[in-house]
Point group: C2
Chain length 340, copies 2
DNA sequence: TTGAAAGCGCTAACAT
DNA sequence: ATGTTAGCGCTTTCAA
């Protein structure tokens, strides 16, 4: 046993002062005589005193912890953001509690519900559903600071950090069209997810602006996992009159598409051209390398963390919304379609 | 404002009982009249009562939170483990606080130090250093349950979950030798890291058992990031009389090697054969696919979480150590060396 | 079967 | 400049 259970009382006793004075010295507020302060500090040091944050939290009603609820911590996109948030919070002596919703609204609700009992100071959240959002509205209304990332929910008025999904998707499809493609497949995730909606809109808008009719058969919906995306890809390309190009709405689905196409013996870009939303490590390792719409992943975490920290510091501002632009990175997965 | 700040007192008042009785009814212990219990439960329900975990923690000295300190949450290996631990903890109504050490011992110490004030119930930790470990010893000695994963520290007596690093590395190098390679490069990370030591031992042992002398020039040390590994690879292969094969000790370094070799115009497996420790998504997307030593990543998290949960439940057992076997997955990145 | 009261460790209003 | 005291929300003796 070592310096476990050294409390303020012990320090106060050792320094021959009251607990109040000891607290003042330790947290440097109010009046404390110089000599006294020194004695207290010295005693605390000697005893190995460490303030009990739980006790502080009971009084203040706030634990120095922020909750992060991503769709899936295994998605490198979220892992990167988690890392950045954590680093930023650490600078402000806060900790990060991570709980994945696993893209399941019910789980998201339960998580939020259970975390509220913990007096968590605020949340950074990637809501699973763009519509089922009463639980978030509720949370925000109670005064708990919330920052939405990657996705946004209409009814909720709080800070948010997202990217230009519509523009990014549109640019991707524009690029495909510019290369002569007209039968452009879309591999998208469930429409309850905000980004799915916006990216789908970009796909549509691009087609419309080029006078290309939207063919529902070219759109395949799947869950956002490599496995599901493989199946969806195979479904899409098993039809005769298959697409000449494919746009995938996130990196996991892009990977699934890669695998699905390979399993069908379809080569990129010879048989099929491919553009994916969200850049990922793997994209530069394949041959050819994959053309993608890149998001400024490294900026999202820090910005979101700072927004939340501002709220925790008590700043009363109107909700702020950051929307980052995306960037098309042309690599080698799109070919000029001949016979045009 | 909604059901914020409903306390036990409110529930007790609403049910016309004392706080003590309300607590008994809510937590079902001690004697409570059936009718009374019902009234209390009903009142709690109606008021939307939620127990204040911080207050409970102040009494019990324990917050239902477990700390996870990986080297880097962005490493898919740790992200997967984090996910699995979290899922397991959730079943036992515990939460997971994640803080990366970023492979920095000092940061690891600070993290632990600051988290102790939080009355965290236990830790799952991948220690950055195999030697600098007093802080962990200390922690364990104070009675805080600790489970070590991926890496282990001699002086610390606690549960651990690791894999057969030596055996896995040996098998990889054996395989290279069996394919006629003798000049086998090693890309390893810093020797303070436990896994680095064991994997290096496996490399050595294999060479020795085949009567091949260890050539220090063939060993390149680098930090475990893609960028550093690229440089180290280039360094290794810039020498004349370069290796015919390369063994990399983790997936980030394998990626770095891939990139480094490509930048030098060296093709796999024609110019260089490659085997990496730790399987990763990308390994099957490259052409050729990469031969790797796979770890049972999906088993580590659940086992570690269960060990910790046992401790939290108060089980007094001798420290348990699980060491999982590894498995060589032969794909296409190794070629039979001619002229042998 | 229930209630009163103490106390977990800390802070802050109030008094001195 | 310092001490006294009350109380954050909860659990748990102890007494009734």
């Amino acid at each position: 046993m070592t310096q476990k259970g050294i409390t303020l009382k012990d320090v106060a006793a050792a320094a021959n002062v009251s607990r109040a004075t000891a607290a003042r010295a330790l947290n440097s507020y109010g009046y404390v005589g110089d000599g006294t302060a020194l004695r207290v500090l010295e005693a605390a040091e000697r005893l190995g005193y460490r303030a009990n944050l739980v006790a502080q939290a009971l009084r203040s009603g706030q634990l120095p912890i922020v909750g992060f609820i991503p769709g899936d911590i295994q998605n490198p996109f979220f892992a990167r953001i988690a890392h950045d948030i954590e680093a930023e919070l650490r600078r402000h002596r806060h900790n990060l509690l991570i709980a994945s919703s696993e893209e399941n609204v019910e789980q998201e609700k339960e998580l939020l519900e259970s975390l509220r009992s913990l007096s968590i100071r605020g949340f950074i959240l990637a809501p699973t559903s763009a519509t089922d959002s009463q639980h978030i509205v509720q949370l925000a209304r109670e005064g708990t600071p919330v920052v939405l990332i990657d996705r946004v929910v209409k009814e909720v008025h709080c800070d948010s950090v997202i990217v230009d999904n519509e523009g990014g998707a549109r640019e991707a499809v524009d690029y495909l069209v510019a290369n002569g493609h007209e039968r452009i497949g879309l591999l998208r995730d469930e429409s309850r997810i905000f980004t799915a909606q916006e990216r789908f809109a970009g796909y549509q808008n691009s087609l419309v602006s080029h006078g290309i009719a939207l063919d529902p058969w070219l759109v395949s919906v799947s869950r956002s996992t490599v496995e599901h995306a493989i199946e969806a890809t195979i479904r899409l390309f098993s039809r005769r009159d298959r697409p000449t190009a494919l746009f995938t709405v996130d990196s996991l689905m892009t990977q699934g598409a890669l695998l699905g196409l390979r399993s069908m013996g379809l080569s990129i870009p010879h048989d099929v051209s491919l553009v994916g939303f969200d850049d990922f490590n793997l994209a530069t390792f394949t041959d050819p390398q994959i053309t993608v719409v890149a998001q400024p992943t490294s900026e999202i975490g820090p910005v979101a963390a700072k927004m939340l920290l501002d709220r925790l510091a008590g700043k009363k501002l109107a909700p702020r919304h950051t929307r980052f632009p995306t960037r098309l990175i042309v690599r080698g997965s799109v070919s000029q379609l001949h016979g045009r």
